[in-house]
């Protein structure tokens, strides 16, 4: 065992707010060794980012302050170092990359300037330039000379994160703190960045403190895991031990709340409630309220840290001095399946509710004095899909592929440029706005961000009733009120929520309100646009359970727009994979996810970090970024990134090839002479 490079002991960082003192970080200890990756795992608001900022004395002042603890970097206590000398540590010995490369780079300075600032002193002008270009090249940025003079907005998200990494590496730090480095990126780009980090770590031997909420990323990257909950570390263990046998009830619950194909047909084991407010003094265990194994002692006495070699846990269950006879037995690991078994995953849809044929949504590009139309952004370019009654179609793709626009095109929130959308036999694209209004109650939408999609000035009751009023539903005001309360209870909220404002609710509760709002007009179809992307894993499970339960009870159809493939595996019946405005593969979930045909689908599936890392998964490397839909590559749109591209791929867009009644893909690999070149 090598000596620890960084040793954190009893670190406490508190914030003074009008609501009282928030104990964001409340006594955490960990060690970091050279060449090792320690993952700090936790949900939002549990204090992991503040822990990282504390190490650098970068906690936002004056509200935040470090009240106790030591951070030993070698023999030096970092927290005791005055600000002036701290600058020699920041960036030089401990460097950071942040979550949002978009906002973490200065928009008005060039990439080159920003990286140069991070170089140690004593570089001549020419040498500094060379060094920056070398750094950019080393993080995999092609054409570094040109990128040197470019501004952040000229780079794609993945490239910006690469530039951030180059900046962090500029002074060859001993420790790299990576704060959710890939959360804002698409899975194929995430795979690129994670691989880059691993390679750089092997080359330089730096220690990495990886902050993340994603168990998959942890499994991929970490040597050691520390789980944070409500400002404390509740479990710490080597990766293998942790994934083989998580010990803390919270960690165990996290695993079980993850959706996956093995849990299809079952309710997910969601953790009830949400992370408690840290603006209080805790007496018992912080997880007790949400723990199904808690007993009286858990609410009265805070558990101590029980250390074993290499690992430790903060839970009364593992305390040898506490008899656990009173402990509630753990719920069986496979939760009982929901009462009504979902429609069998195989078997075609019986009755089609929505059918879109060759749907196109093009946005004009204007240019010149008279703003002539010089081209089109083909956001959606010929999409044909069907959604059966009571079924879920997942639309999967990376950001910018046009999946949200498909949703808007269906709902006629954007009028499609061409193609048809028939809903229950009625052609929507031909309807006037006036004729469309009564139709709208039959298809509703739930948006991604529950914080932005509810009007903050309206009471929850009014938000729910507005749709009913517009559609003249629900009768008398009293009846409407009763209906509103019934809806709120249906989605798992108290009826009193009616008289409160959206900001009084947590993210998960707000998404429940969004769902209740959609349900208020008795729709048949709900377009769910990334409904759980903004939520924590434990809350995501609650929402997925609710959506599934509602489908079983009410026979709803869902168009589930998402980039999260494990959600698709868990929830969807059919899946369509979208790339640059077109569907490249579609079929029943098990067909597409178990035997993907299109190279893009294969790459997408392989790029998702899995928690079972030892199965020998091979990541298919996709180079580069998604091209712009205003100027898609000729031939097959995917060919520049495709590992299996041939000459034919550069020339024509492939026609569909069928593998079963439901499964088809558009790829030259499977084309027989007869059905190539159907399009273009």
């Amino acid at each position: 065992m090598t000596k620890a490079l960084l040793k954190v002991e009893g670190l406490k960082t508190w914030f003074d707010t009008p609501e009282g003192t928030v104990r964001a970080v409340d006594g955490i200890s960990f060690e970091l060794r050279r060449g090792e990756t320690l993952a700090l795992l936790g949900e939002s608001g549990c204090g992991k980012s503040i822990s990282a900022l504390s190490l650098l004395q970068l906690v936002p002042e004056p509200a935040g302050r470090i009240v106790a603890g030591r951070v030993m970097l070698g023999d030096q206590d970092v927290l005791a170092i005055p600000e002036r000398d701290m600058r020699k540590i920041r960036g030089r010995r401990i460097a950071v990359i942040f979550q949002e490369p978009q906002t973490s780079l200065n928009p008005v300075l060039t990439i080159g300037t920003q990286i140069r600032e991070a170089l140690p002193e004593g570089f001549s002008d020419r040498r500094a330039r060379e060094r920056v270009v070398a750094l950019l090249t080393s993080v995999g940025i092609a054409d570094a000379e040109r990128r040197y003079h470019e501004y952040p907005h000229q780079l794609s998200g993945g490239m910006k994160q690469r530039a951030m990494i180059a900046m962090a590496l500029a002074s060859e730090p001993d420790i790299l703190i990576a704060d959710e480095p890939t959360t804002a990126l698409d899975v194929t780009i995430q795979a690129q960045i994670l691989r880059l980090l691993k390679e750089l770590q092997q080359k330089t031997g730096m220690a990495v403190l990886l902050i993340t909420h994603d168990l998959g990323v942890v499994a991929e990257m970490a040597d050691h895991v520390a789980v944070m909950y409500a400002g404390q570390i509740v479990e710490s263990a080597p990766r293998k031990t942790f994934f083989a046998e998580p010990r803390h009830p919270y960690a165990r619950k996290l695993f079980r709340s993850l959706p996956s194909r093995f849990k299809r047909g079952q309710a997910l084991d969601a953790i009830p409630g949400s992370v408690p407010s840290l603006a209080q003094a805790f007496h018992g265990c912080r997880f007790a309220e949400r723990c199904d194994q808690a007993w009286d002692l858990c609410r009265q006495k805070a558990p101590r840290w029980i250390n074993k070699t290499e690992s430790g846990v903060r839970c009364h269950l593992y305390d040898p001095d506490i008899p656990t006879t009173e402990a509630v037995a753990e719920a069986p690991s496979a939760p009982p399946s929901t009462k009504d078994a979902p429609p069998s995953p195989a078997g075609p849809a019986n009755e089609v509710l929505l059918r879109m044929t060759d749907l196109k949504v093009h946005f004009p590009i204007h240019k010149g004095v008279f703003r002539r139309v010089v081209g089109h952004v083909k956001a959606v370019d010929g999409v044909s899909l069907e959604i059966g009654k009571g079924r879920t179609l997942a639309l999967v793709g990376e950001s910018g592929c046009g999946k949200t626009t498909v949703g808007k095109g269906i709902l006629q929130l954007i009028r499609p440029t061409a193609g048809s959308v028939t809903f229950d036999g009625e052609e929507l694209t031909a309807l006037s706005e006036r004729a469309l209004r009564p139709m709208r109650r039959r298809f509703q939408v739930i948006f991604q961000d529950p914080y932005a999609s509810l009007n903050p000035r309206m009471l929850v009751g009014d938000i729910l009733e507005e749709g009913m009023r517009a559609q003249d539903l629900g009768g008398h005001p009293q009846d409407r009120a009763a209906r509103t309360e019934a809806l709120l209870r249906h989605v798992g909220l108290p009826a009193e929520a009616r008289n409160r404002y959206p900001h009084e609710f947590s993210g998960g509760q707000r998404q429940r309100i969004s769902i209740a709002r959609a349900l208020a007009v008795d729709p048949q179809l709900i377009v769910c646009d990334e409904p759980t992307s903004a939520l924590d894993v434990s809350v995501q499970a609650q929402i997925l359970n609710l959506l599934k339960q509602l489908q079983d009870e009410l026979g709803l159809s869902y168009l589930f727009i998402t980039h999260n493939l494990s959600v698709v595996e868990y929830l969807a019946h059919e899946v369509a994979v979208m790339y640059l405005g077109r569907i490249v593969e579609k079929g029943l979930v098990h067909e597409v996810l178990e035997s993907p045909k299109h190279p893009y689908t294969q790459a997408l599936l392989s790029a998702v970090p899995r928690i079972d890392t030892d199965t020998g998964r091979k990541v298919i490397r996709l180079e580069g970024d998604i091209p712009s839909p205003s100027n898609p590559p000729a031939g097959c749109h995917f060919h520049p990134r495709c590992p299996e591209a041939t000459a034919a791929c550069r020339e024509s867009y492939p026609g569909p090839s069928r593998f079963s009644a439901t499964h088809e893909t558009c790829c030259h690999l499977y084309a027989t002479g007869a059905n190539t070149g159907k399009r273009d």
């Binding site: 920041r90 200065n106 928009p107 008005v108 501004y151 240019k367 004095v369």
Partner: protein, 325 residues
């Protein structure tokens, strides 16, 4: 970029025509030439002949829009509308009701206006940004809190107070510079100093407070955290990272008034006796000289439209993310 500017200039044409029509309606329908004549000649004992002569001298005796007695194109050109309104488009302002050449007046009075307005503008920006940065640097401290309090007090006080107070203190008690007046050449400096200082002081309160919020907004952004995490000093962070971003809203906010600097300030010029366009306008209003007022209203609109176009262009200069098209 060029295409954008051309398009914006084309957009300006209908706006200017609208402004022109509105001023015409305001000055000749609401207030007919007969009314103007009466105001100038006095209400009592005015003979119709005197009115007719007054109108004839100034060309107000013509029909408003259509001259049926004239021949050919003159039917439209030999009218009040054409002579007094359409000609404004080529900056032919004609003669004032007192018979002065307005165009020449504007050319000569523009310079004293600029001599006051331009230094006030430049020094003002510099001073306000400096104060705002100072408060932002010491954010949350007593200096910041009291700075904001002082700024609020200063913006609550009327400009007139600064003018009169300044004149009393600096000129009357201390005899440092003349109370008012103007001169040409180097001598002008002693007349310029006081109005410039007072103009700057009058603007400090509101601008400092506004700019401070711009700085604070930037300071709380993620890229500042990145800059600090690189190990940069707080001064470097402030001057190199924050300032450049905060300058975007500041600059684009002030660019719009740059063309209007030519017109000067109504209040400052009349209180300090500066023979600029501001006092020109005030005098014209006082003497009911509508020809001058009309010219200044039109000129003001033209300069304002130019200011708006300059604002859009200035975005591309200070913000690399903005490309006009």
């Amino acid at each position: 970029m060029i295409a954008y500017i051309v398009r914006r200039l084309l957009y300006a044409v209908p706006i200017l025509i609208g402004v022109n029509l509105l001023t015409f309606a305001l000055f000749f329908f609401v207030n007919s030439p007969d009314d103007m004549a009466r105001i100038h000649l006095g209400m009592k004992r005015v003979t119709p002949e005197a009115i007719a002569k007054w109108k004839e001298d100034r060309g107000y005796d013509k029909p408003l829009l259509y001259n049926s007695r004239a021949a050919g194109a003159d039917k439209f050109t030999d009218t009040i509308f054409f002579r007094h309104s359409v000609r404004l488009f080529v900056f032919d302002f004609g003669r004032s009701d007192q018979g002065r050449n307005i165009g020449r007046d504007i050319m000569s009075r523009m310079w004293p206006s600029l001599a006051i307005a331009l230094p006030t503008f430049l020094v003002g920006i510099l001073v306000n940004i400096t104060f705002a940065m100072l408060l932002a640097f010491f954010r949350g401290s007593y200096l910041d809190t009291w700075g904001v309090v002082v700024a609020v007090i200063m913006m609550s006080i009327s400009t007139l107070f600064y003018v009169i107070g300044g004149q009393y203190l600096v000129s009357k008690l201390l005899h440092l510079v003349p109370i008012s007046g103007y001169d040409t050449g180097v001598e002008a400096i002693k007349f310029i100093i006081l109005p410039v200082i007072i103009g700057v002081i009058g603007g400090i309160g509101s601008s400092t407070r506004l700019y401070r919020t711009f700085f604070l907004e930037e300071i709380n952004k993620d890229y500042v955290r990145t800059a600090r995490a690189k190990g940069l000093s707080e001064l470097r962070v402030l001057f190199h990272h924050v300032l450049k971003n905060a300058m975007i809203p500041i600059l684009t906010g002030v660019v719009v008034i740059i063309p209007l600097l030519f017109i000067g300030s109504l209040i400052m010029e009349s209180f300090f006796g500066i023979p600029g366009l501001g006092s020109y306008t005030i005098d014209a209003i006082n003497s009911q000289d509508f020809a001058i007022v009309r010219a200044m209203v039109f000129l003001g609109s033209v300069l304002y439209i130019i200011g708006l176009i300059l604002t859009d262009i200035s975005y591309t200069v200070v913000d690399p993310r903005v490309r006009l098209n």
